[in-house]
Subunit: 341 residues, 2 copies
């Protein structure tokens, strides 16, 4: 990995000194932005946007035109891998993501192809290349994928039931997902992303031994297969009790959800990783003054240490006021200078 | 509190030696039992059952007729307090519990009465008295209430929004709920319950400072107001990262959800409290052999120590096979003898 970067965000990921705490936001390109909603309606839904590199690029850049964010994250979805595997991703009106074909048996798993990302997921890679060109190296671009367990929970009717009733079947699926994820993240890095993030959104539903055998096992496998040219972020929602166990899987940064005390988290992980997080997204429903207070509180809690990338503890809700996001980004930059240099 | 009890479960709660690890199950009187479903259909729904002391007693005893459980828990709901406050609890078909009147303003809170349990919740107290009579002191009976925060999440359209937008309003509501809960739990104890449990089901959604100011603050307030004649259990789902902070609120037992490693939990809380839990309820979808293996695993993890009451980490799902519950109860009794005496 290159150990020198002009980008505040990448420097924070690498635990290097910065002038201000950098900030980016999970789901920063999303439904709270009127220009996103307009484009989505015009295109005819989420997938039409995600599969069109020009539009995906445009959406990735939308929040950066409004706010001085320190990072962009490519506009796509963690479920594009199973879609590329041939399962048929779709979004039913007012419902979550669904697949036309669900995984029930070993036969279903045998039928799954390991997608060649340069073929089946080329629309993501093209979107990355276009976005990198537009960003012109002024702002780093983050690529991402879902953890095998998290992605599998959408591919199986009840993944916990399969875990206990037929763990071998589940692991056969997770292994294929992990293999696909390595290829996909390497292709994202080749296309130019400056950091990658693995979203283990549903790891917090697992028993501790399963968290080890599933979340951590496959994350480690993925990180060991992915070119370490760029920093890696690992994030388990509701994973606060397992931070010490996460630091050895080969990631550079741990994402924290909003329930975790960031000061205690820092003391628990020591200097092994940087931390990303962790304001409660629901705080964005308040007002600029309260948001500033909360930012100060989180910055103070982290203290005068390297290795903090400000973020939310989960994605931005779809209906928060845009001016509150502006207030958040400004507050982080303005209030953090005293903790640096 | 009386420090001597003939009951295995109460002795475990008090960290006294037992011959076998006792077991009871959250939602042990529930929809997985065909005799429950039959009675519910006949009565015309959940509330008709809960508000009829004879039927509530009958349902409380149903699982004990099938399985040699070490405790009964009175059949009722955490939302009977706001119902008694005048908000009008009802259950829409295939939906969760709802209230006819929701709490939006200080005026709404002003209108709330602190229910006199001997009047407004007498049906629960009568059910307790009938059940105690039927149990004839062979099995202890557990009473319970929801934590103010957990109950409030059902009374407010978006409790997290209120917490951040108008914390004073939320706290005014929580204070009234806490006051009502003290009266209610004391009335349950007067009616004869042998232990009480406070369900903080949604405490795991809070930021750490709010977990302190809300979950722990009101739990402590409630426990300090409730007669300590009987042991108290406190349970926060997804609260695994805060166990050390829970031990000083005046409870005797901490409930653990399925994500927590019970051995580590025991080391973290020391000899300050007993532990209750923590098999994943989803494990009940497997078969007797796998259930036995999991029971052995949890018993071994807890080890040869006093103070373990076996339970699930969350309520029994509605569609698990009854024979698997039988296998679980037998496994705990049979496999645990080697860890005692």
């Amino acid at each position: 990995m290159s150990t020198s970067s002009p980008h505040r965000l990448i420097r924070a990921f690498l635990r290097q000194p910065v002038d201000k705490t950098p900030i980016w936001l999970m789901r920063q390109a999303g439904r709270y932005l009127p220009e996103y909603r307009a484009l989505r309606e015009k295109a005819g839904g989420f997938l039409a946007l995600a599969k069109n590199p020009e539009l995906a690029c445009e959406i990735t850049l939308q929040p950066l035109k409004r706010f001085p964010l320190d990072g962009a994250i490519i506009f796509t979805d963690i479920l594009v891998i199973p879609d590329a595997m041939g399962l048929g991703l779709y979004f039913a009106e007012n419902e979550g993501p669904k697949f036309k074909k669900m995984i029930c048996s070993q036969e279903d798993i045998n039928k799954i192809i390991i997608p060649d990302p340069t073929e089946k997921l080329n629309y993501v890679l093209e979107a990355i290349k276009l976005t990198k060109k537009e960003l012109n190296n002024k702002t780093p671009l983050i690529g991402f994928a879902g953890s095998p367990w998290t992605v599998a929970t959408y591919m199986i009717d009840d993944a916990k039931k399969m875990l206990y009733q037929n763990p071998e079947l589940l692991h056969n699926l997770l292994a294929k997902l992990a293999e696909s994820t390595v290829l996909y993240l390497n292709a994202q890095i080749d296309a130019g992303v400056d950091a990658i993030m693995l979203f283990d959104t549903w790891g917090g539903l697992l028993r501790t031994p399963d968290y080890h055998n599933i979340s951590l096992y496959y994350a480690k496998k993925i990180f060991s297969g992915v070119n370490h040219r760029v920093p890696r972020i690992f994030f388990t929602k509701h994973g606060g009790q397992w931070l010490e166990e996460m630091v050895d899987i080969g990631c550079d940064v741990l994402g924290l959800d909003w329930t975790v005390d960031i000061n205690k988290a820092r003391l628990r992980v020591g200097d092994k990783v940087a931390l990303q997080g962790n304001m409660d997204p629901m705080m964005l429903y308040t007002n600029p003054k309260k948001i500033q207070e909360e930012v100060e509180c989180i910055l103070k809690s982290y203290g005068k240490h390297v290795g903090h990338a400000f973020n939310l503890g989960h994605g931005i809700p779809k209906d928060i006021p845009v001016e509150n996001v502006a207030a958040l980004v400004d507050a982080v930059h303005e209030l953090s200078t005293k903790y640096h240099g």
